[in-house]
Amino acid sequence: MNAAARVVDATKRFGSTQALDGLNLEIAAGRVTALLGSNGAGKTTTISMLLGLTSPDSGQVELFGRSPHEVTARQRMGVMLQSAVLPETLRVGELLTLTRAYYPRPAPFDQIAQTAGITDLLHRLYGRLSGGQQRRVQFALSLCGNPDLLCLDEPTVGLDTESRASVWQAIRSRVSDGCAVLLTTHYLEEAEALADRVAVIVRGRVVMTGTVDEVRALSTAGRIRCITTLSTEAVAKWQGVDTVTRAGEYLQLETAVTEKIVQRLFQADPSLSALEVRRGGLAEALSRISAEELQ
């Protein structure tokens, strides 16, 4: 499998902070790669290098086999940055026209507007749009160049459920056409819904890559919630129980051996009710990976 973009042994230091410490990453065509990690882990620096905004101190960054500093390499990439505020006194249609002008093979105007769901906004001034509408316009701009790689930084922040679903749909459709997608997100459900591969960054290194299921499998923790008369102290002493907390009439506990504990709960309190058992998610797996790496 050929990579759309590649980072090899990249290091980067800002003053006394080692932002990247030998980071390796490959972004494959036709796949969504989610970059996960806590704030300050090195996600932003990694993306900045791929966008050609900064260079690594050592190591290599390639975009379609070229340097990201080359315009011809960036012509094949669509970008959506979390922080950028676009000119507020331009109309949405003008922003689209402007961004399409940068690319040698721009996507058809109407098609972009339709995909991003902004057809009814084209004549509006960007500054007069709601946060969610602005986000959709930014997504539209990332599609302007018919990209082979989409770099999406927190693409659905501020979107309502419906808009989020339509952005996800559009991303999936681009991916099925062979586009590579690099996604950073704080919504783990977004990574779970979209990502084919997850790369977990801790302290400037990719410490784990795999499918969402592979990463999730690292989380042994399950969460049990129920209404019971049992006391927190008593349950905390049971073997296999990691944490116990009480919220009102609910008892909540985390454990690696959910089945055993559920059995024991019923034995100890047959009147137990409102039982919920949840398998460990990406969030639990991530915090476990991060905690282990940081130790």
Binding site: S48, T54, V71, L81, A84, L86, A101, Y102, P104
Partner: protein, 263 residues
Amino acid sequence: MNAVLNVADVSVPAKRVSALSILLVESRMEFMRMLRAPAFSVPVISFPVMFYVLFALVMGPPNASGGVARHMLASFSAFGVMAPGLFGLGVSLAIERERGLLELKRALPIPAGVYLGAKLVMASLFAAIVSVVLMILAATAGHVVMEVLQWCKLFVLALLGVLPFCSLGLLIGTLVKGQAAAAAVNLVYMPMSFLSGMMIPLQAMPHVLTQVAPIWPSYHLLQIALHVVGDPHTGNPALHAVTVTLEGVAFFAWAQRRLSKLR
């Protein structure tokens, strides 16, 4: 034979986008968005026009047969090109840096120079508007009579004269971030307007201020403008042109150094 074609295998298409075509679209959009921003476009266009009407046409001596109106035309033509460059580049760059737009533009496949080039074109267009409005007022209400070549020279002077102020604005935009840039630009704009002899004749100022006037690019531009309209001026116009050009180049080089260091 491998029938599956991966995205990364597709060679970069031969079709290229010309930097000039991008510059045209970028300049048009830059002009439109600044024109629609009243905080910029209203003072930039109305201040020199308003001052000209007030000082040259309303308060000017009657039956002066265009002499005062002509002198003031030179003064306010020079004054009118300062704001588009200083505010149009300085404040907009400072705000775009703060809001992450500069970063986004750098990540997009825009050829080098187009982003700044579009701002220069925008500032020149505003300078051209101010210049044309002043000249129409001077020729009609002010009864200023000059050779066609003089009118043309004054217009070209406005188009070129805006450039050193663009450089200075650019430099301020790289030194100060966000809304603070408006204050910083004013700190340069105000003294430069008053202390270079545009509003008040230098002769009416304390000696020490007349001595330092030649440090301002606006002073040199004013002397060239006075030469163009055929009014008394100091020094050699060619030397003034060289000085103001050198100042512009120095500001630009400094700004470029700052920009390349900014992340």
